[in-house]
């Protein structure tokens, strides 16, 4: 009996946390905090005070560091996820908003809106190592899985600028619809998706041919066209499905990423900005700017299963690998 009990205790302690407990980080634009969520408990486990107006956030590959664009502090802060402390900052230039990391984890690419530049930062040296002139108000940043192609979107020029990371020069400029805010590659690198907030569309770009191969638009009964403003985009690893945050339409569109047909609209919180999958793609988390919460979408069943209150005006969201 004692032995059995021991076994029970042992197994309980071993298996108390199922495999899918990840930590998600949510930047709260007005709260000046990062909310840390446990994706198993589906609850906030910590709230950390960071720099002013945190928006774009990215983790390094092993999840040990989180890089936070603190716009009003004109810097990218480095957050140690183990110690849960800010350990330093990177010189981003004024008002950083979105960033992306090179696949080798050594370089940060950040859009520098005031100067119409994409700025390169060496993470180890904490130093700027170059600039690439782009269009007016650079914003969205993405890098191809092989690290060769960097993409920046410029909000007023309305272009996706395709940049060769080796030569650090623009190799193509692709006109998209108004106010392109976000870009992401399919995991196999075969497609580049760019969202146009004001234009209300997604441009699917063939990175090889450097042309738009398809445009996706949205139609929600009873909602004016102007209210549908695509921002964050997340595509499943197998490339089958895409999820698009529609801003003040308070919905996430579910898209068949093969046919590009919209399958469903999921009602989430108000003004949904950015999205992130858990690494097992069981859940998709959405940062809802106006309702101050995060919606949890069950990816397999396409259902919103919970909304979790976070700080004031959540904007960015990332989930750490285990």
């Amino acid at each position: 009996m004692k032995k059995l009990l021991l076994i029970l205790i042992f197994s309980a302690s071993t298996f108390a946390s199922p495999a899918a407990a990840y930590l998600a980080y949510v930047s709260n634009e007005k709260g000046n905090t990062i909310s840390i969520l446990d994706t198993d408990k589906l609850d906030v486990v910590a709230t950390i005070k960071v720099g002013r107006r945190p928006r774009g956030i990215e983790l390094n590959k092993n999840g040990s560091e989180l890089y936070i664009c603190a716009g009003d502090d004109d810097a990218i802060q480095v957050f140690d996820t183990q110690a849960q402390k800010i350990t330093g900052k990177l010189p981003s230039g004024p008002d950083p908003e979105l960033l992306t990391l090179s696949p080798d984890g050594e370089t940060i690419y950040v859009s520098n809106e005031n100067d119409n530049l994409v700025t390169l930062i060496d993470i180890k040296r904490k130093d700027q190592i170059g600039d690439i002139p782009v269009g007016v108000e650079p914003e969205g940043m993405a890098i191809s899985p092989d690290g060769k192609l960097l993409v920046n979107t410029s909000e007023t020029t309305n272009m996706a600028h395709l940049i060769d990371t080796k030569t650090k020069t623009i190799i193509a400029n692709i006109l998209v619809d108004n106010r392109p805010r976000f870009a992401t590659f399919k995991h196999d690198g075969s497609e580049l998706w760019v969202s146009s907030e004001v234009g209300g569309t997604i441009s699917v770009i063939d990175p090889e041919k450097k042309i738009i191969k398809q445009k996706i638009s949205f139609d929600i009964p009873g909602m004016s066209k102007e209210a549908i403003q695509p921002i964050g985009v997340s595509i499943t690893r197998d490339g089958a499905r895409a999820f698009v945050a529609l801003g003040p339409a308070n919905r996430v569109a579910v898209i068949n990423a093969q046919t590009k047909e919209v399958e469903k609209y999921l009602l989430v919180g108000q003004r949904v900005w950015h999205l992130a999958f858990t690494p097992d793609e069981k859940y998709l988390l959405t940062a809802n700017g106006v309702s101050n919460d995060v919606s949890i979408i069950d990816v397999a069943n396409l259902k919103v299963v919970k909304s979790i209150p976070v700080g004031a005006f959540p904007w960015g969201v990332v989930v750490a690998p285990q």
């Binding site: 005031n114 002139p133 006109l175 209300g200 102007e226």
Partner: protein, 392 residues
């Protein structure tokens, strides 16, 4: 002027020399605005309006580096005696077939007649007259500025939302004030408000500034506003800056002032920073060392409309650009939270109306709950079924 041409020249010099660069010349034809303002803060700058067009050209030229396009601004400032016909001809002679116009209604119509003969499109950035969009509408004018009906409706929707339905209207004695009062009467009827009384403030002329300061004003304004029936807000109608700014904090009863002072409707305000607008404000202040006003913004937006159409059509022909601007694919981002498009029936830019107190954006109309079958933006101003415009 020397400095201006230096700036223009720099703009050109900054561009790499492409073999097939397409040049788009844009004229800025602008009236001299009165320096008779009640507040020193409202004095027009030397580059009023022009600065917005120049910034628009800087933005377009940044894009132009990638599209081999080059935008050039040609400034023409009119003094009181200037002959508009001569000035517009001179601009067109210099190759400007797109003209950003800050003109009175009559001057704009005169300019339109000349422009029509010479394959030129005008962008109205200031005249708020409803007739320009209605019975006197013209096929070669795009109205970037909102008209009085849109402004009045924008304010009225917010007042209704606040349940401030009873208005005491005090209007000035100029013809523009009659037109603006009419827009507010229409808005009251349209949205269910009541104008409990109308009063007149007679402009007796004379200097607006004196060393005696606020002593007399402090006594006049309570008198002007006393003995009214119960009301919620005092609606000041004063387009010429004669008295409205004197009203806040001086009314007989402790009442809010809206309209031409207090909470006012506008297409742009220097305090607006939502939806990324702070980026534009920052750029403007960095370049021109002053805040961006409504005319500057409309000029910037007109230049962006031209840029957007030229980039998408890869053309500098007025007919190509106009077709695109009026087509279903056209939309433009202007830091107001939604895409802006053009009303096909009268060529008025659809746009939200900002409500500002000069320090903050208090709200943005259309307000929630004012519904429309095609675009909520069309709850502001004259809608298609009621238009009298027959474009010609």
């Amino acid at each position: 002027m020397k400095r201006l041409s230096a700036i223009l020249w720099l703009l050109l010099a900054a561009l790499p020399a492409y073999a097939q660069t397409l040049t788009i010349k844009v004229g800025v034809l602008r009236q001299t605005h009165s320096r008779e303002t009640l507040s020193i803060l409202d004095l027009p700058a030397m580059d009023d309006g022009l600065a917005g067009a120049l910034l628009g050209a800087v933005d377009n030229n940044t894009t132009g580096k990638f599209t081999q396009q080059n935008y050039e601004v040609i400034d023409s400032k009119l003094d009181q005696e200037a002959d508009v016909a001569k000035e517009i001809d001179a601009l067109i002679d210099k190759g400007a077939h797109f003209i950003i116009a800050d003109l009175s209604a009559q001057n704009l119509l005169d300019a339109s007649a000349i422009a029509k003969k010479r394959d030129t499109i005008l962008f109205n950035i200031s005249a708020p007259d409803v007739n320009l969009r209605e019975e006197d509408c013209r096929a070669n004018i795009i109205h970037v500025a909102p008209d009085r009906a849109m402004l009045a409706d924008g304010l009225a929707q917010y007042l209704i939302w606040k349940q401030w339905r009873r208005w005491l209207l005090i209007k000035g004695s100029h013809p523009e004030d009659d037109a603006l009062a009419q827009a507010y009467r229409r808005a009251a009827k349209k949205f269910g408000a009541k104008i409990i009384e109308e009063r007149l403030y007679q402009d007796t002329g004379g200097g607006r500034r004196s060393d005696s300061g606020s002593v007399q004003t402090q006594r006049q304004m309570p008198t002007l506003t006393q003995n009214a029936a119960a009301y919620d807000v005092l609606l000041a109608v004063d387009e010429n800056n004669v008295f409205a700014a004197y009203l806040p904090f001086r009314t007989w009863e402790p009442k809010l002032v809206v309209g031409s002072a207090g909470l006012y409707p506008t297409n742009w305000d220097a305090a607006h920073e939502q939806w990324g607008a702070h980026q534009l404000q920052n750029r403007f202040i960095a370049n021109y060392h002053r805040p961006m006003n409504a005319r500057d913004n409309a000029a910037w937006l007109a230049m962006r409309v031209i840029g957007e159409a030229a980039v998408r059509t890869q053309s500098n022909r007025p007919a190509d650009l106009l077709t695109y601007i009026l087509g279903k694919d056209f939309s433009i981002a202007a830091f107001k939270g939604v895409r802006l498009t053009i009303r096909s029936w009268n060529q008025q830019l659809r746009q939200p109306i900002l409500l500002s107190d000069g320090r903050m954006t208090i709200s943005v109309s259309p307000q929630e709950g004012f519904l429309h079958q095609t675009s909520e933006l069309d709850t502001l101003g004259y809608d298609q079924p009621e238009t009298k415009c027959r474009l010609q």
